[in-house]
């Protein structure tokens, strides 16, 4: 267990962060605002970095509370409904006071109201004569909503109640993919943010909120009071500087160029390519190295812990069953759910540590199981011979049993390695980086080229790992077992 702690320490020090960490949620506007904050801080001579697209509201909020990030862009409606869990309408001052109680500060509004809206294709809405949300009552349409909107307290359920809507076809779909589905006519209505660039790009109409259901979603920055005073001052300078037109333009630029830093630079009035833009090779190298760190450290831990557990499990009995059962149950938890379960725990939060722990738990089962079965499959005459020769139990294990089981054990390690390379792409969801980063932002932008920048290296990595293990087999498995 000492080795485990040491490795975690090594892992986390490898990802040590500079002072001010700006987070963002997993959608274009949040990315752009994050970039704007980062650049504002840097121009005020405060070292800063931006952790892009860490997840939904709760994940990013927990990260801010837990101190994994120092600031992130948020919306007043979300703060009232999702964070403070208030169903009554809350004034701006009250909101600020409530946040202050938990050590979180809030800037004044940045200048635009990005409220939720329901949108349709213009031609479809016109042909059906739909202008308001109330009009939806008279049509049975296919509705595709983001998972967050489906579950929010100010989301679909109370909206449907307010407007007395009872559609039969409501599905959950990713935000960016939802636009593609809307465009192709697979769904008729979806939720959107009123500053989405897609609204003008796809010529969509925003349905009139005739019952005034949606609260205001004024953009603000939330920050930790522990942040340096100059950094807080720098964020305050952003207040009232972005109106709706400007935000739509920045969002459109971000989606067109797939470059958030560049979109942010529009805000600062320079059209030149941002100096912070990295070359593609450099970015892919950086993602790949981080990816290998995540998968490698977690695999190493899984080997160090998994083989002894497998040896215990091979002896059968209640403890053996318990070990195999536990490892098996972990494997059945969807990887996304496992990450989400770890994030709220004190030691974990939004960090590489969490990603490594989740990957480690995932990598455990194949190693434990293969070690156990490899040892159990050793024929009784071999066991009898080893015992009768007079080898002590430890020597039997080291000199006879483990070498004979080596093929099975290595097979388990190989399986874990390949699983980890694949699953490590999910680490980007909690801001731990790796090749999941371009996959995630590509998915968010519905941009296949960006997705491939992550997916192709990840696939190549998986193949390379497979090959290098095949090579390792020849070195590590005794020749007598390969005849």
């Amino acid at each position: 267990m000492k080795a485990f702690a040491l490795l975690l320490l090594l892992a986390s020090s490898a990802f040590a962060q500079p002072p001010v960490r700006v987070g963002s949620k997993k959608f274009t506007e949040s990315y752009v605002l994050g970039e704007i904050a980062k650049r504002t801080l840097i121009e005020a001579n405060i070292p800063a970095e931006h952790r892009q697209g860490m997840g939904g509201t709760i994940i990013v909020w927990q990260a801010l509370r837990g101190g994994q990030i120092d600031a992130y862009p948020e919306y007043t409606g979300t703060i009232a409904q999702e964070i403070l869990k208030r169903s009554d309408s809350l004034g701006f001052e009250e909101m600020a006071n409530e946040l202050e109680k938990v050590g979180i500060g809030m800037t004044e509004p940045l200048g635009f109201n990005n409220t939720y809206a329901l949108v349709m294709r213009r031609d479809r809405a016109q042909s059906l004569g739909i202008r308001t949300i109330s009009d939806l009552r008279y049509h049975d349409l296919k509705i595709g909503l983001t998972h967050e909107f489906l579950d929010r307290q100010d989301g679909w359920q109370p909206l449907a109640r307010t407007y007395r809507l009872h559609p039969r076809n409501v599905i959950g779909i990713d935000h960016a993919l939802g636009y593609a589905a809307l465009k192709s006519g697979e769904i008729d209505v979806k939720d959107a943010y009123s500053t989405d660039a897609k609204i003008s790009e796809l010529d969509l109409v925003v349905l009139n909120d005739d019952e005034n259901f949606f609260p205001r979603y004024d953009a603000v920055f939330l920050f930790r009071f522990e942040m340096p005073a100059q950094a807080i001052a720098a964020l305050h300078k952003l207040e009232g500087t972005i109106d709706e037109q400007k935000m739509i333009r920045l969002n459109a630029e971000a989606e067109r160029t797939k470059d958030y830093a560049r979109a942010a630079s529009l805000y600062f009035g320079d059209n030149a390519r941002s100096t912070t833009t990295e070359s593609l090779t450099h970015k892919i190298t950086r993602w790949t190295i981080r990816h290998l760190q995540l998968a490698g450290v977690s695999l190493l831990l899984a080997i160090i812990v998994g083989i002894p557990l497998g040896i215990f499990a091979s002896r059968g009995g209640a403890v053996g069953q318990l070990i195999l059962g536990f490892a098996g149950i972990v494997q059945t938890i969807p990887s996304l759910a496992l990450l989400a379960l770890l994030v709220p725990l004190p030691y974990f939060g939004i960090s590489a540590r969490t990603a490594i722990t989740a990957l480690f738990l995932y990598g455990l089962l194949p190693i434990v199981r293969n070690t156990a079965t490899g040892l159990q499959d050793i024929a009784q005459p071999i066991r009898d011979s080893a015992t009768a020769l007079g080898l002590e139990p430890g020597a039997r294990l080291r000199k006879i049993y483990l070498p004979i089981a080596s093929r099975s054990i290595l097979g388990g390690i190989k399986t874990s390695a390949v699983i980890n390379i694949g699953t490590a792409t999910l680490a980007a969801l909690i801001g731990a980086g790796g090749l999941g980063e371009p996959i995630l932002s590509g998915l968010n932008l519905n941009d296949h080229a960006t997705i491939l920048q992550g997916a192709i290296p990840a696939a190549i990595l998986a193949l390379l790992v497979q090959w290098s293990f095949d090579l390792l087999d020849r070195i590590l498995i005794p020749k007598g077992l390969r005849l």
């Binding site: 024929a379 005459p381 071999i382 009898d384 011979s385 080893a386 015992t387 009768a388 020769l389 007079g390 080898l391 002590e392 020597a395 000199k399 006879i400 070498p403 004979i404 080596s406 005794p478 020749k479 007598g480 077992l481 005849l483």
Partner: protein, 244 residues
């Protein structure tokens, strides 16, 4: 005191079934004792109790008149089983030298001993670098025998050592074994279900049935003076083989 090993009221049960009734037996020094009987008669259980692969429910085992310390005892015995007893990840040499290397014996001494053993067991030196899977069944049993003899054990135990070999190879090995036992004045305990083998190799034949010793003595004793119906039936069943 001619007995090297003495079993006193040794017994073993598996659940309800008695695998071995309380049994007394002396294994004579320098002689070959053969345990024989039908399947399930307790002969293999008896052997496994002696080498400590199974723990007895009652009774004791005396070695040179003393109670045994199993680890030390195992190093003073050699054990050869039917098939699969060789470690597949080690070469023939690796198998034979495993224990002497583990105990840190000088390499040169071990190498000399290995050469002698190859001659004794008629195993070609050239094959020492091969893995078990690259050897024939007879060659494997010779390697097993060398491994058992490597530390010059006081007692050699065999559990159906030739059971899986074809008749010609088997006959050759039986001849060689007899010669080796005689030359080394080796104390041997051998389990078989083949009366011809027992008659050929055994100085003392111990016939077992249903977990107990029915009769012991030379093959002539068993044939001329059977203790009961079972003994004569067992002898006669294999007579064709014996006196053909």
């Amino acid at each position: 005191m001619s007995a090297l090993v003495e079993l006193v009221d040794l017994s073993k049960r598996y659940g309800e079934a008695a695998a071995l009734q309380p049994t007394n037996l002396e294994i004579a020094r320098g002689k070959t004792t053969v345990l024989i009987g039908p399947s399930g008669c307790g002969k293999s259980t008896l052997l496994r109790l002696i080498i400590g692969l199974t723990t007895p429910d009652g009774g004791e085992i005396l070695f040179n008149g003393d109670k045994i310390d199993i680890d030390a005892f195992r190093r003073r015995t050699g054990y050869v089983i039917q098939e699969g007893g060789l470690f597949p990840h080690l070469t023939a040499r690796g198998n034979v030298l495993l224990m002497s290397r583990h105990l840190g014996k000088p390499e040169q001494e071990s190498a000399a001993r290995l050469r002698d053993l190859c001659q004794l067991t008629r195993f070609p030196d050239a094959l020492l670098g091969r893995y078990p899977l690259e050897l024939s069944g007879g060659q494997r049993q010779r390697v097993s025998l060398m491994r058992a003899l490597m530390l010059s054990p006081e007692l050699l135990l065999f559990d159906e050592p030739l059971g899986a070999l074809d008749p010609l190879v088997r006959a050759g090995l039986q001849r060689d074994l007899k010669e080796i036992f005689a030359r080394l004045h080796q104390t041997v305990l051998l389990v078989t279900h083949d009366l011809a083998e027992a008659a050929y190799l055994g100085d003392n034949i111990v016939l077992m049935n249903e977990g107990r010793i029915v009769q012991q003595g030379s093959i002539v004793d068993l044939r001329e003076n059977p203790a009961n119906e079972f003994v004569s039936e067992f002898i006669n069943a294999q007579r064709a083989v014996l006196f053909a």
